[in-house]
């Protein structure tokens, strides 16, 4: 390995660069540094932890209550080891920093290493922050964001992504509402409801679209992951103790404003029939907060920009293709965590560590650890697959849309316009649908409406969603918003 300048310089160079400071990125950083490689950890957050261990600034008063975090001791152990590696110079942490462009090594670019172009997540450029870093190997651990589906009224204030509600609680200790319904599908609804209740909100119901019976079809995956069962049981207990009804086979199919007209007032429920259709139920719930979650969408900007191959996963998310050492289809590029398939923090930790060992060229030195991680990954991946099969997005979800329902909130595109583009204007794929309607072209760049847009494009042609529908909604350049002036600098 090459000789490196110490400290942060204008264009420092490392053995390994890790992008993302959640479970996968932290585990990758620790493994790489432990094996004697110089590593730079680039993270968009002001503090390490990612979404999973999002927390207030630890220097602020009253911030040491971590009851809302699972595996907090794992986080503390990882960050403590990173702190020590930073002291020896083996690891460098660039906080509040985003990668907006990736240049791969090789004959095309003439560069011997990966070049990452950086910009501050927000605010002013710190002069000490390098504008580019180089690394021989690259590990991407970009995590994921909430997957959303449009519902009539979901653009009202008081409707939030379930993960956003949790992030407010974890990061700012802020309760987004007093009377909440948590709806969508998947195990993630449980901790969100439990945390809302523990922080003083009245959770009137958790609406789980699917029926728990689906899990009975996956006995093997459950038997191999007893810890996941225990976790679900503990949330179930929290819900029962707080007297929160858990309504299965139930969806929120309409959100209506309160008497002021500009805030959530009631939600209308529907029952998911066995044929996938939705039957309205007479029941209405009065709420001031609707937390919606339909699983997660991996953040694939960096993966797409790197040219690595992608595929559609069991949960119909676009994910990166990796081998049994976490290497992508691009040599020297490793991917770990949710970007290889949504599977939770335990899986991300194992994948991150394996990616770190592989990127450090140490798989032959760490044979037994690599084998153990491989087993762990296969076991947890099997559980994730079972979870995705048990909690699919309802196949006929678009039936609860009305012509006026907003599909893309940034560009205010209605379902009527999407339908017109799909049926009359020739939007036979998601790219054409996006360009004809502007769905996914606004501020969020498809983070919110990307899955729905891709799914509607496929549904309009009465064919299943495929990778070609999802790829145009994963953007390539820039990987993160960057001031135009930053393009001129190096």
């Amino acid at each position: 390995m090459s000789v490196h300048p110490s400290g942060i310089t204008k264009q420092p160079s490392y053995d390994v660069a890790v992008v993302g400071g959640g479970p996968a990125g932290l585990a990758a950083t620790v493994a790489t540094a432990r094996l004697g490689r110089r590593v730079v950890l680039i993270d968009a957050g002001a503090q390490l932890g990612g979404q999973y261990w999002r927390h207030p600034d630890l220097s602020s008063a009253g911030a040491h209550d971590h009851a809302g975090h699972r595996d907090w001791e794992v986080f503390e152990a990882l960050t403590e080891r990173i702190r020590r590696h930073r002291q020896t110079g083996a690891a460098v942490h660039l906080a509040a920093t985003q990668v907006w462009f990736i240049e791969p090594p090789g004959p095309d670019t003439g560069a011997p290493a990966w070049t990452l172009h950086l910009a501050p997540t927000c605010g002013v450029q710190d002069d000490r922050m390098p504008r580019t870093v180089r690394a021989d190997r690259l590990i991407l651990a970009p995590g994921c964001y909430d997957r959303q589906l449009p519902i009539p009224g979901w653009d009202l204030p008081g409707v939030m992504a379930a993960g956003g509600v949790q992030a407010l609680l974890k990061g700012q200790r802020t309760l987004a509402g007093k009377r909440a319904v948590v709806a969508g599908t998947g195990p993630f609804l449980l901790p969100v409801a439990a945390q809302l209740a523990r922080n003083g909100a009245k959770v009137v119901a958790v609406c789980e679209a699917n029926r728990i019976g689906r899990w009975a079809k996956q006995p093997l995956a459950l038997a191999r992951t007893p810890a996941k069962l225990a976790e679900a049981a503990s949330y179930g207990w929290s819900l029962a103790r707080a007297r929160i009804p858990y309504l299965t086979g139930t969806v929120v199919m309409r959100i209506e404003a309160d008497s002021s007209g500009n805030q959530v007032g009631t939600v209308k429920l529907g029952r998911l029939r066995s044929d996938g259709g939705v039957q309205p139920r007479p029941k209405r719930l009065e709420v001031d907060l609707v937390a919606l979650g339909w699983g997660f969408t991996p953040a694939l900007e960096l993966v797409s920009a790197s040219g690595a191959e992608t595929r559609v996963d069991v949960d119909r998310s676009l994910v990166a293709v990796v081998d049994d050492r976490q290497q992508s289809t691009v040599a020297g590029l490793y991917i770990a965590g949710e970007a290889t398939g949504v599977g939770g923090a335990q899986l991300a930790l194992a994948e991150g560590e394996l990616a770190g060992i592989a990127a450090a060229d140490a798989t032959h030195l760490e044979r037994s650890r690599v084998r153990a991680l491989g087993r762990e990954i296969r076991r947890l991946r099997a559980f994730a697959v079972a979870m995705h099969r048990s909690h699919p997005v309802p196949p006929r979800w678009s039936e609860w849309l009305t012509p006026e329902t907003i599909v893309c909130r940034c560009e205010e595109v209605t379902y009527a316009r999407v339908s017109e583009a799909s049926t009359r204007l020739g939007a036979t794929d998601a790219r054409t649908l996006k360009l004809l309607t502007r769905c996914g072209m606004g501020w969020c760049q498809g983070h919110v409406c990307g899955f729905a847009t891709a799914a509607l494009a496929a549904a309009g042609q009465t064919r299943p969603l495929n990778a070609e529908d999802l790829r145009p909604l994963a953007k390539q350049f820039p990987c993160a918003p960057v001031p135009l002036g930053s393009l001129l600098e190096d």
Binding site: E103, A421, L425, A427, G442, Q445, L484, G485
Partner: protein, 396 residues
């Protein structure tokens, strides 16, 4: 949208248009108005190629005196007259162009060009450099010259293409997307070789005429027909900013842009083109490169575009870049479109090679072809655009 697939069951048309971009869609529109039975065959989706990768320019300002300017003025009149009733469908916007020069030499060249254009009927109004901020408050100071072109306009090219096809379908045209052309069936008769049918991935379609409107891929289609057509892709990038309150009112570009469109340079050519959109984003171009159909983002090109744009609008340095897209213009070596019948194979017509001007020139091109195909005299002379000028070139 998609008609039943062509098959072996004796499908036929008067004209098969290859390519459902703006030019192909305009051909379908004008040909159905002449009573032709038209089938459009498109490999991808509607407007999947160059038509979805530009800004939708309808420009007269960037055309030097000659046949292309004539075609631009002819097309411009069609947008305002024959097609005016549909302008809402494709978000027609008569925003006007503002061309500026930063150097004294560039300023002289710009004013000379404007004078020449005026003689050809272009509405080109010289603007006092000190008064440019009345047009564009955020533009840089100290410009050498500026010219306002009220005729420059814009459409949303995807909507244009989709709706022209919709209007053509209402008049009887058939549109197939996701169907590739694989070859041609040629008959040899006493009058030489002529096209009998187009072979597609879904079976043959018998026809009298074929219009090759495949944009930068038109050379590949010509090769299938056994003729050589030197159309090549010329890559361009467009940068898109975050949505802003109205910041740029016109299509604003540096005078060097005209030189850039006419350049023979095979390397990277960059000139600033900056304009606002209804969505509030600002579109920033432009680059020209001969790199085949390479789509990967090239930092040197993007950086050069950003530098040129910031030079024109210094405020842009602070504005966030949200996304970017790449596209390929159909480049013709003499910078003139290729429009008309190909004498080497009867029944074969070309409508391509418009480089970056294909949206604006699509309707004029299509109307002239419809007249020629109907055996009428054309409103303007097609001879300068004839494929015959390449016929000396040996087939690849």
């Amino acid at each position: 949208m998609i008609a039943p697939r062509p098959g072996s069951a004796g499908r036929s048309a008067d004209v098969v248009v290859i390519g459902a971009g703006a030019v192909g869609a305009a051909c379908a529109y004008f040909l159905t108005r002449k009573g032709f039975a038209v089938h459009v065959v498109e490999r991808g989706a509607v407007a999947a190629g160059s038509s979805s990768a530009g800004e939708g320019n309808l420009l007269v300002s960037d055309k030097v005196s000659g046949p292309e300017l004539e075609l631009a003025l002819y097309s411009r009149a069609l947008w305002d007259q024959e097609l005016a009733q549909h302008r809402e469908l494709w978000e027609f916007e008569s925003k006007g162009g503002l061309v500026v020069a930063t150097s004294a030499q560039g300023g002289q060249a710009l004013l000379a060009l404007a004078a020449e254009q005026r003689q050809r009927g272009v509405d080109a109004r010289d603007v006092d450099p000190d008064a440019v901020t009345d047009y564009e408050p955020h533009i840089r100071r100290g410009l050498a010259a500026a010219v306002h072109y009220p005729q420059d306009a814009q459409v949303q090219p995807m909507l244009l293409t989709a709706h022209l096809l919709g209007l053509a379908r209402a008049a009887g045209a058939v549109v197939w997307t996701g169907v590739s052309v694989t070859g041609f069936e040629v008959q040899v008769g006493s009058d030489g070789r002529r096209i009998a049918a187009v072979r597609t991935s879904q079976g043959p379609v018998a026809c009298e005429h074929v219009i090759n409107a495949a944009g930068p891929w038109a050379g590949e289609i010509a090769t299938l027909a056994g003729v050589d057509l030197p159309i090549r892709p010329r890559r361009g990038f467009v940068l898109v900013t975050e949505p802003l309150p109205p910041t740029v009112n016109h299509k604003v570009y540096a005078g060097e842009y005209v030189a850039s469109t006419q350049s023979e340079n095979l390397g990277l050519e960059v000139s600033a083109v900056v304009e606002g959109t209804k969505a509030g984003t600002i579109l920033i171009g432009s680059s020209r490169e001969h790199v085949g159909f390479e789509r990967r983002f090239s930092l040197p090109a993007l950086r050069a575009i950003a530098r040129a744009a910031i030079d024109l609008f210094p405020r842009l340095a602070e504005v966030s870049l949200l996304r970017s897209y790449a596209g390929f213009r159909p480049y013709s070596p003499d910078h003139l479109p290729v429009v008309g019948a190909d004498a080497r194979l009867r029944g074969l017509w070309h409508a391509t090679g418009h480089e970056g001007a294909g949206i604006g020139l699509s309707v004029g091109t299509a109307k002239l072809i419809s007249q020629a195909m109907a055996g009428e005299s054309t409103d303007i002379d097609l001879a300068p655009f004839s494929p015959a000028r390449f016929e000396a070139v040996a087939p690849a």
